[in-house]
Structures are given as C-alpha cells and as structure tokens.
Amino acid sequence: MNIERPLTQHLHPDGSPRFLREYVAAGGYRSLRRLGTELTHKDVQRLVGESGLRGRGGGGFPTATKWSFVPMGPDVSKPKYIVANGDEMEPGTFKDRILMEGDPHGLVEGMIMAGYALDAEVGYIFLRGEYHLSAQRLNQAIEEAYAAGYLGKPLPGTAFRFDLHLHSSAGRYICGEETALINALEGKRAVPRAKPPFPQTVGLWGQPTIVQNVETLYNIPHIINHGAEWYHRLSRTKDGGTKIYGISGRVTNPGWWELPFGTTARELLEQYAGGMADGVRFRGLLPGGISTSFMVEEHLDLPLDFSSFPPEVGRLGTGTMIILDDQTCPVGFVLNLERFFARESCGWCTPCREGLPWVAKLLMAFEEGRATHDDLSLLEMHTKWLAPGHTFCGLAPGAMAPLQSALRYFREDFERHITTGGCPWSKQSAQQRVLV
C-alpha cells in the first residue's frame, strides 16, 4: 500500500468538491462496512490509540486518551455528542477549509466513525461563519449521506445510527476553544467553561461530548481502513500520520502541503515554498497560528510535530505558519496580532479582557513613537501574568506567546522604537522624525 497523502490525494486540483459518487468510487465510506462484530467500538478506539493520532487543532492531545474519558456502557447518560470543531479562525490557518471544501464526505465519514467508537449518536459540525462554501458543500454531503443511509439509519450489521447537523458559527475566535464552542452551540454567550468537568462527561447540553478538530476527524477512516502500523509509517516521528502544513508571508510560493508528520520548517520553506521572496530575508516564523511563539533561524531544523519542540520554542499549533521578513516591523507585526486578540477576548476574565487591550495600546504607542522603557516592563508584566492557570482559558496565554518571544528575539527593535521615537520601518514616522 502506497498512500502517502491520505487526506488530500483525491482532492481536485481546481478546488471543486468530490461528492458522494466520486467519494464512494474512490473507497469512501468503506470503513463503515466493517462495523459490527468485525469492528466493535472498542476496536475503533484501540486502533485510534495504536495509531498515535493526536489532535490537529493545535493542542496535539492524543485522541484516544481524550476519548478514554467518555463514559461508556449501557447505563451512561444519553445522548452523547461528537462535535467537529470547524471554527477555523486561527489567523494564517486554512487547512480545514481545504478539506471541507474539497472532500466534505470525508468529514461525515470521520464523524460517523468517531460517533461509533464512542457510541455517540448525534454529531454537530461547528463551522466558521465565513466558510460559506464549506457550509454549502457539507450540507450537500450530509443530505447525500442521509439519502444513502449512512446517516439517520442503523448502519448495516449494527444497531448504531448517527445523526449529523451543521451549525454555522455567528463568529468569534473564542469559539475555537472547545467549551466556548459548546456554549455557542447551545445558543449561549461564547464564553469558555471551567474545567473540570471536561466535555467528555459534561459537555453539550450537559451530556458527554467529544469536540474534535476537523483534520483529526479526516484521519480516522484512513486509520480504520489501513491500520495503525501504516499510519505510523506515514510519519517521520512518533506522532503518527501526515500533517497539512501551510505557509503564508513573503515567500516565493505560499500554499499548503500534506507531508509526513515531522517535516522541518526549513524543508517546507526551502523545498516547498521556494524560499523567501526576492529582496526579503527571513527573520522568524509563527509555526501554527498566531498563538504560538516565534521560531527563528536556529529552530528551522526542528521536526514540526507535537513532541519535538523544546519548551522554550513553545508549541507547533496548527502547523500553518506565518513568516516574518526583514522588511516588516516585528513590533507592528505583533501589534496586529495583539489587536486581534484584544478584540477577540470574550470578556469573561479580567486579565484577558483588560490586559490585552492595554498591551495593544502599549504596542501602538511603540509604533507611534510614544513608548518609554517603562512600557517594556508593562509588556513584560503582561507576559508574566497572562499565563496558563492565571486566566480562565488559553486565549490570553496564547496571545502572550508571540509577544514574549518577540521581546526575546527582537528586543533591540522594540528599543529602537523608543530611542528613535517611532517605527524605523514606517516611512511616515521617518518623515515625522525629520520634521521634529
């Protein structure tokens, strides 16, 4: 068996979707045929466990471990829910959209399989509001799957029946946080929930719930069809499978590629993205969305996976990276991020709600040449206090990752903003300096 890119090999190059006939013809929904005595829900759980599949939303939490907290057995509270987290609002990240637009049935199949594994009979796809095309295609796929009997009827050989609904989000970055997503799905304010209890026991409408990233779910049917060993072989590291990596920024050839897990940033940048664009040089990158820390030249040979990053480098995140070049002001770059975070704070806990706007205003002051050395300490105070456990959820600590690493790697640039009284990259402020 020589499948190297299980998630994307059948995608049409023109971005048009594969619907039911084409999907089935290429082996789609095959995984469901073995359900029942040949493949019990325990078998599916075991296979996913053996595969080493880890959550592709950025957290990298082992999927089988996550599943193991879902209460199983005849006496548990029903219904149980599977929720696909398709709220892909992480800036720079577009991997789930590629999959959902090109191959909507893959998500349906993955959800049915996850539902079967956990004996969860209802699924929701929580979709980013702006993903109109994905919504259209997923809805058509869901309709087709109902008509074909994959949804809404007991699957052959089993008593298991799965229902699937699509929900387009009203928006907000925080909905990507699984408990805020659950609140939003319930029609409540998109504010995260305290954990414990975890959604596995008290989730959607108080019932056992698994929230799983879209890309993760796409992997499951392939693991079932081809086995854990095959899945491990796809990867270069101990985290199984492939990963959809992406690059945006001033590179020759920005885009996405499904590659073995553990590919390095240098390979991506040089072999796939064609290196930096003409006239700009590499300064750093955010490896997976904007709530990850900057990686610089010295980190480019690290395998991009969930287990190879030393603590000071932070985490992989979504694997869709944004490149910082030397023609772009790192302070302005971070300001742009922090404005986003400040705006997307849900407003629930004090440090995030009040701290992030303060950070954004301080960075603005740097850009406008009104910053002082005390402002550097205030920024540092925020990177210290907006830490995991101090805030209610991970949003603010995520917001501090690029700031803290920028203060480490680009500190002289911050200081130059103070000493020169403005942004060295800004023509406007250069003129102002002359005027002064």
Binding site: R172, R189, R193, A194, P196, P197, T201, V202, W205, G206, A342, R343, E344, S345, C346, G347, W348, C349, T350, P351, R353, E354, G355, L356, P357, W358, K361, D374, L378, M381, W385, G389, H390, T391, F392
Partner: protein, 919 residues
C-alpha cells in the same frame, strides 16, 4: 472536615467548601468579586488568586483561583506569597484601567466592595495612561440608578438577575473590553427582586434610586434591625435614618428567613414613613359636632380629654390590627379587656387563620422557613400567587427547583459551589414545582405543571393528591381527566421527594385549599417523608394577632350597634379596607367616641374624634410573628418627631389617663418600658410565652455598655441641630432596648438583632456579613433568628379534613370575583411610598376571553364597575388562565375597599363601557 494549611498555619474547614469560602470563614482576607456565597463560584474575576503548593517541599507553587479550588484535606496555600499578592494587585490595576475615579461623588463610596478590595490588595498608582472607555447609562425605573462607567465586569448582576432571580430583561451585551450590563433598551427593570442588584453589584453601577433622593453616607446613618411590614414573611431588614427621615432599607442577613435577598416591595416600600400623609399631631374633634374638623391639641390636654371620654364610656371596643406589633395589640387588649378586644379582621379571614394555626398546632408537619423552602426537593402550591403575595418565598422556590437535579451534580462529583459547572450539568433540568391557582405570572415558566382553576377546584386537586398519596386520606370522586392525570404526576413527584413542601394561603378565601394542603402534607408524613407546610398570610403580623385571639371586626360592629359599647379605639387599622363603606360609616356614626391610633391618613383616621399619631415600624420597638410562626423583634431606629409615639405607648398613656383618678396601676397603665410590654405579651396567650426570648431585654449590656445605633464615624453630631441650638443636646436615652441613639457603646460580637449595620475592618460594604459568620453563607455568630412559637404535635395522627368542595360550576349571570394580588399596590403601607406607587398598575378586571365575549366586552376596554356601594373604573384584560366563570380584580389602592372573593353579576355591575383604549 479537612485541615488546610494557609501560610503555614492549620485551619479546620469543611471540605465541601472552596478555598475562598474556607479562608473567609476563618477571617482570612482574600479579595474577590465574582463569587457570592449564595451564587457560588464561576472563576471570572481572578481576584481571589492564592499560591498553592503540592506539599511542604514545594517552594514554587502555582497560582490558583481560591474560589475554584476545593478545600481538600492537606491543601497547602499561601495568601501572603509575594507573587500571589502582586497578581491580585494587578487584577485591581486592570479593573481600574477603566473605572472612573469618582468615589467622592459615587453613591457606593464608603461601602464599596471595590474600594475595599483595592485597599486590601494595595494597588495605588495608576500606570495605564490611555483614555478610559465610557458608556451611556440607562433609565432603569424608579428603583435603580445605572452608572455603567463604574462597571468592573464581574458578571454578578446578570448571574443574580437572570440565573438566581429568574429575570429576563437584564443582560450582558458586547464582548471583550466593551461589555455592557443593562437592558436591551431603557426601561424599568421588570423583576420583582431587582433591588438586590444594589447589594450584588460590588461597586456603584446599580445603586438605590430612592436613597439617592435623600442620600447619606453609610457612616452617617443611624440604623437598627427592622422586620419588613409589607407581607407575612418577616424578612429582616436594616432600616437607616438621618436628620429624622428614614433613608433606606437594606437586606439584613438571617440564615433562616431571607438570607441575602429582599423583594423590591420590602426594599423600596419604606418611604411611607416619610410620607407627607403622615399623621404628625394629635387631633381632637369637639364633642357633639362631628361635622367639624378635628383640631390640633397638645398631648397632655388630649390625653386628659381622651381619659375623660374613656371613663365616661359605656363600654369600649378595641380593634386591633395585623399590621401593628404584638405589644401594641396586647396593650389595647389590656386597656379594653380581652372580651372587648377584636382582631380587626373579618370573619372569613379569622376563620382561615384559625384553621391554619390549628393545622400547625395539632398536625405533625411543621411550617417551613424560607430557608426550608429553598431546600425543598418538590413543591406543591395550592392557591397563592407567591410572586405577588409573598415574593421572597417565590425567590426561594426558584432555588428549590435545583434541589432534585443536584443529585446529578453529586453523581458527577461536581462540588455544589462550582456554579459554572453546576449550571452546565443541570442545564434546564428542574425539580418538581406544581403551581395551582388562578393568576398566571412569569413564575409559572418554572413550574413542572401549572393548573389554573377556581379555588374550589384547586382544593379538589389538593384533596385528590392527598388521597392518591395516602390512600387513607379521603379521595375525590368525579375528577376531570386532566386533573386526575395531574394528580398522579404531583403525587408521584411528592412521594419521590425527601423534603416536599406544600404551600397554601388565605388570599383566595378558600378554607378548602388550606385543608387540602394539610391533608397532602400529613399523607406525606405518613409515608415517612419530612414534609413542610407553608401558609401565606395576609399581613406582617397576621399570625401574631391570630395567636392573641379575639373577636372579628363584625363582632365589634355588633357590639356598638347593639349598644353594648359606645366608644371605639382603632389601632393601626383602616376599617374601610375591611368592610364596606356603609357598614363602617354606620359603626362610626353610632359610636360616641372614636379614638384612632395610626401613622398615615386614611378614611378611618378621618373619622376619629381623637386621633393619635402612631410611630411606624422603624420608629418603634415591637414584635411580629411571621407566617411560619416565627416571632421577630424590630427596633426603633430613631425617635420620631413631635407628638408621634409608639402605639403601645399611646395605649399606655390612654390607660393611665383613664385610670388617673383611680389608684389602679394594673395592666397596660402600669407599663413603663417596652420590656413591660414584652412581659405582658408573653402572658397574653400560652403560645406567646417565648416572645421574651427572641432578643435580649433592655437591661442587656456588654462590658457594662449599651450598643450604639450609630457608626463610630458618624459625623456632625455636634452640628446636627446647630440651626436650633448652639449646644449639643445629650442623645436621647433609650429605656426600651439595649441600643443607644449614640456613637458610643460596646462594639464587638453582638447578638444578631442588636447589630446596627454589618461592618468590619477592611469590609465596609454589605459583604462584611461574611465576617459575622463562622462559615460563610451559614448562620451569623450569635444569631438569634427569631423564635418559632408553634410546635408540631408529636406522634399525633390528626383527623383528615373531609369537607371536599364540589367542582366549581360557572353560573349563568354571576361570576366569582377573585382578588388578584399585586406586589406593588396590594400592600397598604408600601403603596404610599412614591417609588412603589410609580409601579402600581391601573386597576383591571381579568376575564377569560370566552367570558369577555359573553359580556360583550372587548379587550383593553374601559368599564365602570358598580359594586358594594361604590363605582370603580377598570380596564378589561382577557387572560386565558383566568378560570371560566371567575373574574380577577387587581388589588390596587383604587379598589382597596372591595371585599373579595364574592359572587358578582357582571351583567348588572358593569355600568358603562368606555371607549376602547388605544392598543
């Protein structure tokens, strides 16, 4: 119990608590905002961060939110840890980024939790140099002022208003640092418990608008315990005065009664005390000419004249009052003699009250406190409209419906204080609450089942439930299928509960519903449950008056009309609210002398030959017995101006004047102080024997000192009267209680009724209550929550009530006119408070649409209703929940003279139908 280590010291705590509550319970100052003892933890504000260590070798530790961390055995934390202190100061710094520095002009200043927490954390200097965000404020109606710029986004207001009190029209809008806590648009806050926002809000976003109109800082208020006079529940309040006017009422924690919350009638109804309709001087009408108006008279002459009249009297009738204190009623009874003492209520009410007392005396089921009601795991209400008649009890039931689903929370091992998780687990699961009555309110949205029917049918439902549960209790034949099915559901829910609660009341005038409630409770008792009964009574001291006993108002009328007496003393009672005008007129006409003691002008006061200005509750000492039979003491907050005096004192003076020529010093004439009144009350009826135990006597001293009503920081004492005198008059001496009208006296741990205001070092806001409790949320230290005077009979199997009424039959020409209580308007005193008066709706007649059609009426039409000798202008409302064959009449001041329930021929009574009002 668990041992936790805080800053290297061991403390014994309840492991069912979180660390914050555990620390506060030991007097350790941990600042907080979003947590509230009655509303649990949500972890939003991050203010209560402390350092937690894994074990004694862990030197690093990590910051945890103490409100979200269980107080497990061996937990090792530090409050003083420098990092946790710095983090907490940072939280304040963040909150202050947008908080205006308007403390000097903010109504919350001086009792602001945010001020306290700011000082506690040590945050001083502002480092944010950016502009503050501003908001537009809303007009939220007559009770609450709104100043959103002060908001620190702790979410307590919406958690309280929506999650705890069932309100819908206050919410949080927006997100990130642009949050808005308010209504969708300007408008009066609808919820009956909105006033608690004033205490829930940790800063000055929601403040008391009535207080604003005559604002005084907390430290300048003279305060004492009061008992709310506006319904029968007896919620504890702190009433506060400055410059001779009552300035505000705040909640007074009583673990058994109102806990942390009041209703809006109780909080904002106080201004009747300051009304310009107060009777302030003695008025005397010259004998012989009743057409002439009464004239002011100085007190000695007036008393001498009244004494003469009383001596000359050929029999004196004393009419007591369910809104007067026990002591005042006892004084009147002593003056006129038990045979001539009448309760001042009509026969039906007296009958209902005596039935209720007998049920509680002879039956095995005790009455429920409000605290009991909150703990009930299944509730059946037979009749009363709690939201309008006994609002605080409705608020308690909103908590009771969480009791049964809490089992799931326990199964999931979620601690009950973890409100965020509890709500996620509970979702819309609600325990059983069955509401049977004839008026729909928003409260019904929380009911498992609602049953709208005439009182007789409500009673039949109750009897049927009892019959189904007990099978020995009488059953009800020929029940409708709907009622039968409902009966099954109710019986099942009640028998599955451990602490079921049955509620009935007097408002519908139905003896049968009361008896049915008793049968249900007794049947549950036989099943080995621990049921409770609760009866909603008409007024604040209805139970006390009933315990005292005495004839009815009509017995009093008879006594005069039959010539057995010719002189009447009316104590704090407007008889025109209790009998029709012609009867009362005839009564007063026939009486040779009418002496009225009351505080507010009303038609009865206008008939007085001798009118004596009575002190209101906050101006007097006294005892009320609430609907559960709990006797509670209220204290004089300040000495009323001029001739105004406590009713019991007037009666003492009258007795004295009457007996001046004789040597007799017996009875009320011999009373000197309030303690004498209490002693006399304790011997007035066997069940009143313990009224002396509810609070310490006047001789009570701590370290030889009295207890001050004024704060240590009470300002301006030497200049308060500077416009009258250059000297500082000595403070008045209080011979009636252990309290002093002073700043001086003992300050320390006090028996709870003697606490003037809750206040502690570092805790200037109402949150200081925490420091008065051994366990946060639990009883106060030295709590004297009142004395329950009624004890259930032990191992007594009372006879079932068997008088099951026949099913209600609509009549062809007649309608059963039923009273519709209104939280704002039905209570005599609070209706005189301007803020409450603003909330009183126009009087209306509620009809089932089919009855409206039968009468040829249109919805919203205006009608004149001629009834019982008067004509009332009413709006017509069509309401599907109004049982066919009945009509509901809103009990607001304009129709206060109407006596319902009664049958009425609406074809005749509706005189004219006005133009249809604009929709």
């Amino acid at each position: 119990m668990a041992i936790i280590i805080v800053d290297n010291k061991s403390y014994t705590v309840d492991e069912k608590q979180n660390l914050l509550a555990a620390c506060l319970g030991h007097g350790l100052n941990v600042p907080y905002f979003c947590w509230h003892p009655a509303m649990g933890s949500v972890g939003a504000c991050r203010q209560c961060a402390v350092k937690q260590f894994k074990d004694d070798r862990d030197q690093t530790g990590r910051l945890v939110m103490s409100c979200m961390t269980p107080a497990t055995n061996g937990a090792r934390i530090s409050i003083d840890d420098p990092e946790s202190k710095a983090f907490r100061a940072s939280v304040i710094e963040w909150l202050m980024v947008n908080h205006p520095h308007d403390c000097p002009v903010c109504d919350e200043g001086g009792e602001c939790h945010l001020q306290d927490m700011t000082v506690m954390t040590g945050h001083v200097y502002r480092r944010s140099r950016f502009p503050k965000r501003t908001h537009r404020n809303q007009d939220l109606g007559p009770f609450i002022r709104h100043e959103m710029n002060r908001c620190i986004q702790c979410y307590r207001c919406v958690r309280y208003y929506r999650d705890y009190a069932g309100g819908r029209d206050l919410n949080v809008f927006g997100s990130h640092d642009a949050l808005y806590f308010g209504r969708e648009q300007d408008g009066t806050l609808e919820n009956e418990f909105s006033g608690n926002l004033v205490e829930i809000c940790p800063t000055g976003v929601f403040t008391d608008k009535t207080f604003f109109h005559h604002y005084t800082r907390k430290w300048d208020l003279q305060s004492a315990q009061s008992i709310c006079p506006h319904c029968s529940l007896g919620c504890n309040t702190t009433a506060s005065e400055r410059y001779g006017t009552l300035r505000r009422v705040t909640n007074r924690f009583n673990s058994q009664v109102n806990g942390y919350f009041l209703c809006d009638r109780g909080r904002f109804g106080y201004e009747y005390v300051n009304s310009d309709k107060r009777i302030k001087q003695v008025l005397i009408r010259p004998e012989g000419d009743r057409a002439k108006p009464a004239q002011p008279e100085v007190v000695p002459q007036a008393l001498a004249l009244a004494g003469d009249r009383l001596r000359q009297a050929r029999g004196i009738v004393g009419i007591g009052s369910p809104r007067a204190s026990l002591e005042a009623n006892v004084a009147l009874r002593s003056l006129v003699g038990p045979q001539q003492f009448y309760q001042g209520i009509d026969e039906r009410e007296r009958q209902l009250l005596s039935t209720i007392l007998n049920i509680l005396r002879t039956g095995p089921v005790p009455s429920a406190s409000i605290h009991d009601a909150e703990q009930a795991d299944a509730v059946l209400v037979l009749g009363p409209d709690l939201l309008n008649e006994a609002p605080r009890l409705a608020l308690a039931l909103l908590q009771s419906i969480r009791q049964q689903p809490m089992e799931r929370v326990d199964e999931l091992k979620i601690p009950q204080w973890d409100e965020a998780a509890v709500r996620n687990a509970l979702q819309n699961r609600r325990g059983p609450l069955f509401l049977a009555g004839y008026q729909r309110t928003w409260f019904h949205a929380y009911a498992t089942d609602s049953y709208f029917a005439a009182p007789d049918d409500v009673a039949r439902l109750g009897f049927a439930v009892a019959g189904t549960i007990g099978q020995v209790a009488p059953s009800v034949p020929d029940l409708s299928r709907e009622a039968k099915e409902l009966t099954q559901r109710i019986a099942e829910a009640l028998t599955h509960a451990q602490r079921p609660l049955i509620i009935a009341g007097t408002s519908g005038g139905s003896q049968a519903t009361i008896e049915a409630a008793a049968n249900v409770a007794w049947a549950l008792h036989r099943q080995g449950k621990q049921p409770r009964l609760s009866f909603v009574l008409p007024e604040a001291n209805s139970a006390g008056l009933a315990l005292l006993g005495g004839g009815t108002l009509h017995d009093a009328f008879d006594s005069i009309s039959q010539g057995k007496a010719d002189t009447v003393i009316v104590l704090e009672n407007d008889l025109y609210r209790r009998a029709d005008q012609a009867t009362v007129d005839a009564f007063f006409d026939k009486a040779r002398t009418v002496i009225v003691i009351d505080s507010l002008e009303h038609p009865t006061a206008a008939r007085a030959d001798v009118l004596l200005p009575a002190a209101t509750g906050p101006e007097s000492d006294g005892t009320f017995v609430n609907q559960e039979g709990r006797a509670q003491r209220f204290y004089q907050v300040y000495i009323p101006q001029g001739a105004i005096a406590e009713s019991w004192r007037w009666l003492k003076d009258l007795a004295h004047a009457q007996s001046a020529q004789t040597e007799s010093g017996a009875g009320v004439a011999a009373w000197n102080t309030f303690d004498d009144a209490v002693s006399a009350t304790a011997t007035a009826a066997p069940e009143l024997a313990r009224v002396g135990e509810i609070a310490p006597p006047a001789s009570f001293r701590l370290v030889g000192q009295k207890l001050p009503r004024q704060s240590e920081r009470y300002s301006g004492r030497t200049s308060l009267l500077s416009h009258l005198t250059m000297h500082e008059p000595p403070p008045p001496v209080d011979h009636d209680s252990p309290l002093g009208f002073t700043m001086e006296g003992y300050r320390g741990s006090l028996p709870s009724p003697l606490i003037s205001q809750f206040w502690a070092p570092g805790w200037n806001s109402i949150q200081a209550v925490n420091t008065y409790q051994d366990e946060v949320g639990g009883p106060l230290r030295d709590e004297m929550p009142g004395v329950r005077l009624l004890k259930p009979a032990v191992s007594n199997a009372p006879a079932w009530f068997t008088a099951i009424p026949r099913a209600f039959q609509p009549a062809s020409q007649q309608w059963l006119l039923l009273p519709l209580s209104a939280v704002f308007g039905s209570d005599e005193l609070s209706g005189r408070a301007p803020a409450i008066a603003e909330r009183i709706v126009q009087p209306f007649l509620s009809l089932h649409p089919s009855d409206g059609a039968r009468l040829g009426l249109e919805e919203c039409s205006a009608i004149d209703l001629a009834w019982q000798g008067a004509t009332y202008s009413l709006a017509v409302r069509f309401e599907p929940s109004t049982p066919v064959g009945t009509a509901g009449l809103s009990l607001v001041p304009e129709v206060s003279g109407v006596r319902v329930p009664a049958w009425i021929n609406l074809f005749e009574a509706i005189k004219s139908e006005g133009k249809r009002r604009a929709a």
